[in-house]
Symmetry: C2
Subunit: 269 residues, 2 copies
């Protein structure tokens, strides 16, 4: 399956780029896809099929463009295209590598970050950047069905897996539902765990949306990526067991580390 | 709701940026979010609440930074942050405007593009870029459960709404299921419609994934956006009424025009 790549072995040899694939694409409609896009597609195939496993180092652009019989600019454009999709990682002064496979999040279900990561064998962590009580702004108040300027808790946390920063979380909750929230250690505990154990509030369902965004300078800095790289913005309005809105979240996931999957999307009639 | 913005009127006046909001955020944990991020958040609130409706023109950076009492670089960074999220649109030599609201796609359901757009009152269209028969590459063959190099149809189409390019579609289907597919006019018909009416194949469910990616040069050119802007890559493996995989799709949506929503995500136990 495309999202649980079946690695078929450890063959990382780069002679395996099959140059015969490059001229197969005789388009019947103009304009045809350019040569670099076709090279990228064939390289993508090799990554997805496991011929090029995660961590494999690519040959130098000079050697490789000669082997393929294309000019360096064409090859570079193909590599940029795959780099933009998070499939290749460039390490300065070193070389280009095949990226680690992405971690899956469920797009159709509500899976708390901590639980989702633990289930996949990762060690999740959190670093609190901001925790403050402040008046609710108009849009957030509307979402949470509280008066404008009513007090809310606002939390900004950096989420880590295996000590690597992978997600920047912004979280707003009505203060009257969680008195004393600031006293709990949110760097060592899941927010959902605190909400349930300390306040008896269980988020049972949510409205969620996903949007691709470019990393701003501050976001790039804390997530340790380059400014401008693609991130996934997940917005979430969570409802408790009485169907009251109790949290409004905006999570920014690193696009090179995550994909959002719906296992069984049924045709809408 | 955050994804169906409730515009509360036509007040586009820019004096409405509330400078008093700027000093509310006294962080209890270092490092605090920088000033420009706070300005961006407050501007975002005004966009989401409808105080700043779509199409509203922003004042000049000079006037505005003076009114806010911040330097121009700080304001510019805040605007770049919102621009990166597709909320602002810069028109060269003219000014900056609040972007149109995004169109919603269902993340948890399979909704054919044509049907989804028509339901929302848009006029969908398609322009065929590539339609060819070619041998299946390893990964695609594996997905479609056909032998490597078995013939597949490969289609690249540009999808339009109201004549504006908004999505670039790549579609692969096993050739033996759709003999003569190339004879059908795919610029005027939905692929799902052709599959059903001409071949009796109905895609009833799919495995889908969403990833944020940066627009490569070719993609940017056909989608009429700047290279590097965020796009949403939706991959889809579609199964027919006999649960056979019949289509593998990779759709690239403009990030400034779409968001992907799950209306009712239930807590996974």
């Amino acid at each position: 399956m495309f999202a649980s790549r079946a690695w078929d072995g450890g063959r990382a040899g780069f002679s395996s780029v099959d140059a015969s694939l490059l001229d197969r694409s005789v388009s019947r409609f103009a304009p045809a896809a350019p040569l670099y896009a076709q090279i990228a597609e064939s390289l993508l195939e090799q990554i997805e099929s496991g011929e090029l496993p995660p961590g494999a180092r690519l040959p130098s652009e000079r050697e490789w463009s000669e082997a393929l019989g294309v000019n360096r600019m064409t090859l570079r454009r193909a590599l940029r295209l795959l780099g933009a999709q998070g499939l290749l990682v460039r390490r300065r002064g070193d070389g280009t590598y095949v990226a680690k496979p992405k971690i899956e999040r469920q797009a159709a279900h509500l899976v708390p970050f901590t639980k989702g990561m633990e289930r996949r064998g990762y060690l999740p962590g959190a670093r609190v950047i901001t925790l403050e009580k402040r008046p609710a702004e108009t849009a957030v108040a509307h979402e949470l069905r509280i008066p404008v300027s009513a007090p809310v808790f606002f939390v900004r946390r950096l989420r880590l897996i295996n000590r690597e920063p992978v997600m920047l979380e912004r979280f707003t909750a009505p203060a009257h539902r969680f008195p004393g929230l600031e006293r709990h250690d949110l760097s060592n505990r899941s927010l959902y765990d605190v909400m349930e154990k300390e306040y008896g509030v269980i988020v049972v369902r949510a409205r969620q949306s996903l949007e691709p965004v470019a990393a701003a300078e501050y976001e790039a800095e804390v997530l340790e990526v380059e400014p401008g790289v693609p991130l996934m913005l997940e917005r979430r309005l969570g409802f408790d067991q009485d169907d009251e809105p109790v949290e409004y979240g905006e999570d920014l996931y690193r696009g090179d580390r995550f994909r959002f999957v719906t296992e069984n999307a049924l045709l809408e009639s």
